[in-house]
Symmetry: C2
Subunit: 340 residues, 2 copies
DNA sequence: TTGTAAGCGTTATCAT
DNA sequence: ATGATAACGCTTACAA
């Protein structure tokens, strides 16, 4: 064992192993990489020396010599609901299972986002890139499509970018929520959304409409209220609903839980009971939903991460293939909709 | 621009730049690394060619040639309260500001933990390692102290490991909480903890005792109840408190918010009002605290991340130094303690 | 100020 | 089955 002046172990190298084992680098490399012909005796000797010396292959050298980075780049938006935390766990589990590491980064705005993506790519630090919910436009998509590094999109496809995508069944989730509300006997349901032009919004709205048709209820676009996907937007919309000229809806379906949290607080402050006066259902099933007894559409975050990692790893190399998976959503029933 | 058969851009290399600019690799490298003497004209020419070719230095080669990885390893416990999410953001911001990337990994249990730490080290993929709240024992510490890679500990120091540490002022936080409760006029306060042998627990308990002394209240160790740092443990303890022979405490200070959440739910179910019948204060100020109106001791997660990244980066290389910082905690007052 | 050349630690292609 | 040896793309003394 070599000792540096500081007294710390300086890494053993391949040639240290070669010297000690009296073998060539080729042979040692072969046993280390489980490549073709090596005698059992040689293999054993090498393994012993490796263990003795505490040798661990240098990653940079390996990569440079043609290997893979064994690393997945992951870019999350800095802002946002914090979904990425649970997704990241799923990513990690799946990546670790296949010997991959995660290089995570947060983007701050669109410019930063592009720079980040380009930089991760360019330096060749990653074998594949996973990006979530970003604002990357089509111009960027065209540029990105020239990358050698495969890309996995979480949340929505980007037109013009040949990338794997992991999405959830937004329409089905919304449909489940609305159908459940109809089953409770509520027919006048207001729908609170954020930016209605969003991919997610569009899909969820489609699900709402399908549920209405299935329930034989006339679809009323006037009951759909846009805004932002925030708590504040929820309180504003609910206040408007109460103070406005129209009748108070019997139920409110919020296109995400943040909106629902805002709605719930308005309802409580103004003395309206949930679900007796107004029933409320959210979307996303964030942790707060549990604490508030909010019925909500669950999004399988962990599975999303897992699927993303698998898609990413599966798309690496010449054998790699683009894939896209849609994960199921399900309704979690709590107090706010009228269930026990 | 070279084109691979697939039609994708294959990365330009240093020598491509050299050839195009009619300069030597040394010169180009110098301008790229802002090293000593290069004429303005040369610099400009190189920069133009670099831009033209879309050249980005290959990271593996750079590292192999003696550079740094520019990468911080981050190991979080897979289980746990999800604190790491916010901490990670702080880490990312501080690391990105200094041109470092983050290699994140989750540990599953103690064995996996050690293996993970050793592997990240061994492969030489990281310049420093940041670990949070792990169960690494002293045996491991002795081994780890021989690493060349510096280590930063988040949450608590490990005896025998020369590492930088980022901790919070647990004692002060608990003291603030208890003092506030005393100020409200409550003198009979129960303290709910998890594992009381924990570093955090010990410090928080010390703070409680100090607050009692400062308030002139006799410190009663019998009012300290151990268990686990979970919601379930909180409900169990609160039920015991209600059903037990002793008097119902006027206030409960929970050593973390999970416990407090359990307490709150018991109180609601059993018709006891908060804070009129029993006041409750938690510790950690997790997001649920806001939704529940729970007064709690805030932990500056983002700052922890930032401090950890800075400590890590500051400890790299021969100039590196071990540092340890204690971050302040503060009380966030909401309904549950008796404040508006 | 710029160029030459020797590594850095692996992998992989030849021979042997 | 094993051994030379040439890449891989970059940094950095040392020369010029």
């Amino acid at each position: 064992v070599k000792e540096a002046s500081s007294g710390q172990t300086s890494r053993a190298t391949l040639s240290d192993v070669c010297r000690t084992a009296r073998l060539s680098s080729a042979t040692v490399s072969r046993v280390l990489n489980r490549k073709s012909p090596v005698s059992a005796a040689t293999r054993e000797k090498v393994m012993r020396v490796v263990a003795d010396l505490g040798y661990v292959p240098n990653h940079a050298a390996r990569t440079l010599a043609g290997g893979r980075e064994q690393m997945l780049g992951v870019v999350f938006p800095e802002i946002g609901n914090g979904f990425w935390a649970e997704i990241l766990k799923g990513l990690d589990a799946a990546a670790a299972a296949k010997g991959f590491h995660l290089l995570t980064a947060f983007s701050h705005g669109e410019v930063d986002e592009q720079e980040l993506v380009l930089r991760l790519h360019g330096a060749g630090r990653i074998d594949a890139l996973i990006v979530m919910n970003l604002r990357l436009g089509e111009v960027f998509a065209r540029e990105a499509s020239r990358f050698k590094t495969p890309v996995v999109l979480i949340d929505r496809p980007i037109p013009g970018l040949a990338a794997s995508t992991i999405t959830i069944d937004n329409a089905r989730g919304a449909q489940l929520a609305m159908s459940h509300l109809y089953e409770h006997g509520y027919s006048d349901i207001a729908i609170l959304g954020g930016d209605l032009a969003t991919f997610d919004s569009q899909q969820r709205l489609k699900g709402c409409e399908e549920a209405a048709q299935a329930a034989g209820v006339k679809w009323n676009p006037d009951r759909v209220i846009g805004g932002a996907f925030t708590e504040e937007s929820g309180t504003a919309a609910m206040n408007a609903l109460i103070d406005g000229p129209g009748p108070l809806p019997r139920a409110v379906f919020c296109l995400n839980d943040n909106l629902a949290i805002g709605v719930l607080s308005v309802l409580r402050e103004r003395g309206l009971r949930v679900p007796e006066d107004v029933a409320v259902v959210g979307f996303d099933d964030i942790e707060a939903a549990r604490h508030l007894g909010l019925t909500s559409v669950n999004v399988p975050l962990n599975d999303i991460g897992r699927a993303a990692a698998e898609a990413a790893i599966g798309s690496i190399g010449p054998q790699g293939a683009i894939s896209s998976v849609v994960l199921p959503t399900r309704l979690v029933r709590r107090r706010s909709c009228g269930c026990a």
